[in-house]
Amino acid sequence: VHQVESIQPEPESSAAPAKKLGRAIVLTSGKGGVGKTTTTANLGTALANRGATVVMIDADVGLRNLDIVLGLESRVKHHMLDVLEERVTLDEALIPDKHSDKLFLLAAAQSREKDEVETEKMKALVASLRERFDYVLIDCPAGIELGFKNAVAGADEAIVICTPEVSAVRDVDRVVGLLGNRFRPQLVINRLRPLMVKKGKMLSVDDVNAILRLPLLGVIADEPEIIVTTNRGEPLALRKESPTGAAYHAIAARLAGDDVPAPMPPAAKPTLLERIGSLVGRKRP
């Protein structure tokens, strides 16, 4: 009898239906500093809040950051390379989140380098995580070298993060090309300033997507409270009453397949000039 290759033991109960594989989603951008880690932390928090089981992998070997954004830096005992090199089990390395029992972090090795990760092992790790979690979110390092390739290797979906800047748009365009046909990346536009867009001083959502032409998950405003929440290690998605926190929840809902509109930052308040303009305009017949 032909033996089907299986690393994982068969489930004990044969009556239990085969568990659907979770989704492995890489969050990438090419350019650094556009908000990949912040988006991963907030999206993970929002997805877990919906009841999904989520694991976030910090794939930025050597520049560990997802732990500190989530406020979990003091809990990191083991990291991804410990698992890949079989020093600890996966369960020993998974760090539970402070706020949700459905959310876990697999931290990056801080004192190692990206080329020490074997692509095939990384793929196997993501595959085994997909059997246990509904979502595997992979926080990709900046750049398009081996770190990027390893982060992408095990993923079957991609979210690209872009800010409304020429450099970020160009890099996302390049990354989408590198991702190739295996992916149909979805877009998150981050750090939009509605007032600047209105004044014609910043690329608009339409401007960016006229170039990238990707399915839009949502738009996040450039909000000071994101910096404040990052300072505290408490993702903004924990606060649903905040418009930006709610935007992350809407993005999570869209990712999960809910038919809700892509969140947009609130429109900029009319400027003094426009208020004068509309007053003058009203007097005309």
Binding site: G200, L203, L273, G277
Partner: protein, 101 residues
């Protein structure tokens, strides 16, 4: 009205410049065109256009000439002075579109 006021107060956005620059750079990225090749292309385009009209090849030196404006002026739309008079019997080439007057 708002547009008029904006013009009055000299409000000029830079997002249009960003769009234009992105469009050009992504075109060259996708085609893997070297910048020199773009320059050659521009020169040859101007050569073709100058067969029909008189073209000012020197980029305009003005106080308000930003790099973007200069690129626009010296790039895809070379400043045209006037239509060249062509001899009717010169060639079988299609005659140029009549200049707007």
């Amino acid at each position: 009205m708002i547009e008029f006021l904006k013009r009055l107060f000299g409000q000029q956005g830079s997002s249009a410049t960003a769009k234009e620059r992105l469009r050009l750079v992504l075109m060259t990225d996708h085609l893997e065109l070297a910048p020199e090749m773009i320059d050659t292309m521009k020169r040859e385009l101007v050569d073709v256009i100058s067969r029909y009209v008189e073209v000012d090849r020197e980029p305009p030196k003005r106080k308000d000439a930003t790099p973007a404006a200069a690129a626009k002026a010296g790039g895809a739309a070379p400043p045209v002075r006037k239509r060249r008079r062509r001899k009717k019997a010169a060639s079988g080439a299609p005659s140029p579109a009549p200049a707007a007057s």
